[in-house]
Amino acid sequence: MIDWTSWHNYGFMRSALLAILIITPLFGVMGTMIVNKKMAYFSDALGHSALTGIAVGVVCGVADTSLSMVVFAVVFALLLNRIERSGTASTDTVISVFSSCSVAVGLAILSKGGNFSRYSSILVGDILSITDSEILYLVIIFVITAVFWLLCFNWLNALCIHRTLAGSRRIPVAWMDSIFAVLVALTVMLSIKWVGILIINALLILPAASSRNLAANMREYHLFSVIFSMFSGVLGLVLSYYTNVATGPMIVIIASVIYFATYFFGSSCRE
């Protein structure tokens, strides 16, 4: 007989649950705008740039590679944003070029001397190893995002709908783009160790994409996205404990199932 409450007796499980209760609503909310702005590729590239960030930290001799990772990601995000706006080549090509280039540099540096296995845990992530002070960082980015969302969400939405129209209404279009890009970079970097490079983008995109299958307005869009995100997170954590599977992938599997369910439900409703 499986004891369905035993997981709660472990401190690491309680910390992980707390972290998930912060990360998942944050991802759910942020995902709505990433999907709206068609930035799925952008956030994916940002996730990959984590490797380069660590490599830069190692080369420069920074003790805490998390710091170099965050700084590099912010610079990378602003750079991508700028190139995108200059409109010289199609965005997905440019992002792809920069992303693969930075991954290659990161891998080259980290694999020097055959030491890459030291860093491989970041590919899959391990939320069970999160500490209280690291949870505090998540709380900070959560609060910053919440404040930004309350103050500026309408502007973001407006510029998504029509840039020139938004500009003509005295909305600081370029600033909004940059601030949002930086916020995505910070969120991705502060949670990447727990979620993993390979699947972090899925967690950002899936809840919002599922929500789009059902929602008819912004209120439903946000509500469903947060619910799907938190549900997959909590259920994924508990299931991973009992099945002995890594937590991140389990969460993404559940989120994917929700996506397909909403897809078929949504399209059958529309017909």
Binding site: N154, R169, R219
Partner: protein
């Protein structure tokens, strides 16, 4: 919403020596316009004549030479020009969860659209939609609207900001005959009942002939402007719309000594 019964007739908007170039390429040069409140001004010209660039320059979306002034001719004072822009379409794909309320509220208010609807804001949006007979669209998804419905929603949005100048980029497609009639009736209503001037980038010469007060024929620069009759009977008009559009594509075969007319 501002309740002004009629245009005052004393405001005028002047575009002086406006020019735009992208790198080496000159798109607009020395465009001069003089526009009065209460008038419907149509800008016409063939594709690539710089009509859309003129709109973007006036909105400050592309950098340009020259200036735009907005004056009260009664006391000569300069004022800040508020432009209500109505784009051709919006960047909303199928299945996007943006309702008409969300669209208008995002531009019109800072109260976040992801929170429960604000009563006051909803009332203001309803009032604006009512002017264009679009009140029942409030909770519809924007991606499911027809071309004509979307245009009425965008007009409501433009009017909510109480503009001095309404700048419209007329949609090329997606609006049927009835929709066009309704649209031009609305333009007439607006210019009579609101204190604003209208600049319309139009692709439909028949409607321009019937409704415009002032016509501007554009091709890089203003070729001809004036009343409908003046412009439509001018040689410049003939050159742009008669010869240009037909013969350009019907050049004689080279064997007969013909060549592309350009």
């Amino acid at each position: 919403m501002r309740k002004i019964i009629a245009p005052c007739g004393f405001h005028c908007i002047k575009v002086n020596h406006l020019s735009v170039s992208f790198g080496e390429q000159i798109v607009l040069r020395d465009v001069n316009l003089h526009i009065h409140c209460g008038s419907l001004n149509a800008v016409i010209g063939r594709n690539g004549a710089g009509k859309s660039t003129l709109v973007r320059a006036m909105l400050g979306d592309v950098s340009h030479g020259g200036d735009i002034e907005f004056r009260d001719t009664k006391n000569g004072r300069m004022q800040r020009l508020k432009i209500g822009y109505v784009p051709q379409s919006v960047n909303i794909e199928k299945n996007t969860p943006v309702s008409v309320y969300d669209l208008l509220a995002s531009f019109e208010s800072r109260y976040p659209v992801f929170l429960p609807k604000s009563r006051g804001l909803q009332r203001r949006i309803r009032e604006a939609l009512r002017i264009f007979e679009a009140e029942e669209l409030l909770d519809r998804q924007v991606c499911n609207l027809s071309g004509g419905q979307l245009q009425r929603v965008l007009l409501s949005l433009a009017i909510m900001d109480e503009p001095n100048l309404l700048l419209l980029d007329e949609p090329v497609s997606g609006i049927d005959q009835n929709g066009m009639e309704l649209f031009y009736d609305t333009m007439n209503y607006l210019k009579k009942h609101y204190d604003l001037a209208i600049i319309l980038i139009s692709h439909d010469l028949d409607y321009v002939r019937r409704f415009a007060d002032h016509v501007v024929l554009l091709d890089q620069t203003v070729l001809k402007q004036g009343s409908v009759r003046e412009v439509f009977s001018s040689r410049e008009f003939e050159r742009v719309f008669m010869e240009g559009s037909q013969e350009r594509w019907h050049a004689k075969p080279a064997a007969e000594g013909g060549e592309w007319i350009d």
